[in-house]
Amino acid sequence: MSWRLIIDKGNTYWNMAVDEAILIHREKNLVPNTLRIYVFEPSGVTIGYFQKVREVLNLDYLLENKIDFTRRITGGGAVYHDSEGEITYAVIADIEDIGRDIMESYRIICKGIIYALRKLGLKAVYKPVNDILVNNKKISGSAQTRKKKSLLQHGTLMYNTNLDMLEKTLRPPRIKLEDHGVVRVSDRVTTIYRELGREISIDDIINALIQGFKKAFGIDELLPGNLTVSERKLAEKLYGKYESKVWIFMR
């Protein structure tokens, strides 16, 4: 089975618009299964589809520091995407090629990240539904949405996320922290650099992710490619949604 590989970067709105544009094109069978690996530039924040902006984000801090934030089409929690510390992945594929069962498909996709981390020398554990832990701390989080025939799962891999910034931009509910048994966000989150005790190159991390997903999905061929003209056009249109107050403040 041949997949398309896209490696790119963009701002918060563009990145979310591109993921949705690819999903819509995949659903119509206009593009192949796609692995997209990307960076948020500049750093930004995304929240889950069902989250209340004011409940989970420190809006004063975000506005004061002109940090972009938007709502995803996927559920799950709020994420700080550090342009110099976090790589995001998106898997857009036919549901049949990953797994019809939702929980099973999360497990399979997360397996790709676990393989990648193993390649980098870290032992990672999958914590259903959507977390990957190293030494009992979160290093990756994912979120999936589905159309009739295809799915989009995107998620993070933190390699050097500024945990101080993460804590300043996000407002975790007190009740959630109590459940985790610790108080500070940075106490339950970690990064590749922190766990390895040294820095490694971004290329090595990207390569590990590519190998990890290839193994997890049994991909024979992963061909470097770009967005089609039609995907790009749709992403430009969706960009407006992702930066609109109506969408962001829906909840």
């Binding site: 889950g48 989970v56 799950g76 539904v129 949405t145 959630k176 459940d179």
Partner: protein, 98 residues
């Protein structure tokens, strides 16, 4: 399971951290009818618009009508909820509108 409650004028907020799951928050204004409801949290719902449809469907209804409506909608759409369950939503509604 403990449900946290915050009151503000007519609108009340109930927060439940589902054991081993996600956070479910319901902002609600109800007396004999549900005047307003907003369901939020870091859970997953497939399809996502099940939650939006549920909110719309029970607004203006009494609690007993609302619960009937929810089970009908649940049977019709057959959503898959991850991190919360439909009973978590119903439990909070019952408590809020008691």
């Amino acid at each position: 399971m403990d449900i946290y409650e915050v009151r503000m004028l007519n609108k009340r907020t109930f927060i439940k951290r589902v054991p081993g799951g996600k956070t479910l928050q319901i902002d609600i204004d109800c007396n004999d009818r549900i005047n307003y409801i907003l369901i939020s949290g870091d859970f997953f719902a497939y399809p996502e618009d099940f939650i939006d449809k549920l909110q719309e469907a029970i607004t203006g209804k009494s609690i007993s009508e609302a619960i009937k409506t929810i089970s009908l909608l649940y049977k019709k759409i057959k959503p898959e909820l991850l991190g919360i369950s439909i009973d978590d939503i119903i439990d909070i509604l019952r408590k809020a509108c008691a």
